[in-house]
């Protein structure tokens, strides 16, 4: 067995894992959960800005993967296919939210969030300031129209390529580029005071 094969066995690609899962290997599914749960959580949270709802959507995404494992065809990149499911579920959740006209969405405030703070060496004052900045940025992202928000999240937060964004949102590459362009312009305008601090 050569080195490459050894590496493949110890660190299988997503596509290999889903193939193994399609053949009935539950351990492969667990590995996909381990790889994607936090990535999807961050992605969905940026849409919904509500931790409970975001986690529920991520769980639903994995449930869909479990239920529809055979719908995945090798022609697509697994991550793109999977992000598409999560994005659609997140958008459905947003639509539901709009329809129900939820007046008191329990927004996850900066004060009660329990996710990791990047720099634990910050002084309390700086931490508060950093948290406030973060809240402002997230609020401004949330205020963007959905068509701009989704491309900004995918490109600038999730670091997806243009091609991946095309596949996930099912829109032409020209549209992706122009929406990123306009989304960034809008966000820049909204966050001007913060950027120029």
């Amino acid at each position: 067995m050569n080195k490459n094969n050894k590496e493949n066995n110890t660190n299988p690609s997503d596509e290999e894992l889903i193939e193994r899962f399609q053949e009935g290997d539950i351990y492969a599914f667990e590995q996909l959960v381990y790889r994607y749960k936090d990535r999807l959580m961050n992605f969905v949270y940026n849409f919904l800005k509500n931790r409970v709802e975001a986690e529920d959507v991520v769980q639903e995404t994995f449930l869909r993967l479990y239920r529809n494992r055979h719908s995945y065809k090798k022609i697509a990149k697994f991550s793109t296919w999977f992000y598409t499911i999560a994005a659609n579920l997140a958008k459905t959740e947003l639509r539901k939210r709009k329809r129900k006209s939820l007046l008191s969405i329990s927004k996850m405030g900066v004060e009660d969030k329990d996710y990791d703070i990047p720099d634990l060496t910050l002084s309390p004052e700086k931490k508060v300031s950093s948290n406030i900045r973060e809240k402002i940025i997230r609020d401004k992202i949330e205020e963007l129209p959905l068509k701009f928000r989704e491309v900004i999240i995918l490109r600038d937060i999730e670091q997806c390529s243009y091609e991946e964004i095309c596949d996930i949102l099912n829109i032409p590459i020209g549209t992706v580029k122009s929406r990123i362009n306009r989304g960034r312009q809008k966000l820049q305008k909204e966050l001007k005071h913060l950027i120029e601090e």
Binding site: E55, P118, L194
Partner: protein, 187 residues
């Protein structure tokens, strides 16, 4: 002043590493002479950095346990769906269902043969062989895999043409059993 809008598009390409050499050269020349675009570029770089440095939100500690529970619930629901046709909730329906089962069972094992089983291949006796031995006659039966050996008494009032074999039993035209065991004979 050249069209700044076009240069802002190039700034986005620069941020995404999608810009080619000639475009980059053009952009740099423009920025050297356009203070607004220069500021726009600086702000764009800062914004991109801010977005990429946003703290990443993680799933809760209970995520895996909750997911497993959800998958198990889903699997149970699927299983219940499969068994739903056999799940009869109302008492009256239960009684009716049990009655139907009992009636069908009685009719199937009924000694008076009120309902004759129709399943199985049916073969019509149409040809008599010339071979005779041990007081029994061998008959060739259409499509039946083997010849059969029958007693002359089996045909008291029946003509050969009217006999039918179903499930290895011989019947007359009135569906009465003549013999239950048709014995195949090899020539």
């Amino acid at each position: 002043m050249p069209d700044c809008y076009e240069f802002r598009k190039l700034i986005n390409k620069l941020l995404d590493n999608e810009i080619d050499h000639s475009e980059e050269k053009k952009l740099r020349e423009h920025i050297d002479n356009c203070i607004d675009c220069k500021k726009y570029l600086e702000r764009s770089i800062k914004l991109k950095k801010m977005l990429s440095q946003l703290p990443r939100v993680k799933t809760s500690k209970d995520f895996n346990i909750l997911l497993r529970a959800r998958i198990r619930r889903e699997a149970n629901r699927e299983r219940n769906k499969l068994f739903k046709p056999f799940f009869i909730p109302h008492r009256a329906v239960k009684i009716a269902f049990a009655s139907v089962v009992i009636i069908i069972s009685v009719l199937i094992i009924n000694p008076f043969n009120l309902i004759r089983k129709d399943e199985g291949n049916q073969f019509t006796v149409s040809e008599q062989s010339d071979n005779q031995f041990d007081g029994r006659i061998q008959y060739v039966i259409d499509k039946y895999p083997n010849s059969v050996s029958l007693s002359r008494d089996d045909f008291k009032e029946n003509t050969v043409d009217s006999l039918i074999i179903k499930n290895d039993s011989l019947y007359n035209q009135r569906n009465n059993i003549i013999t239950t065991h048709v014995t195949p004979v090899n020539f």
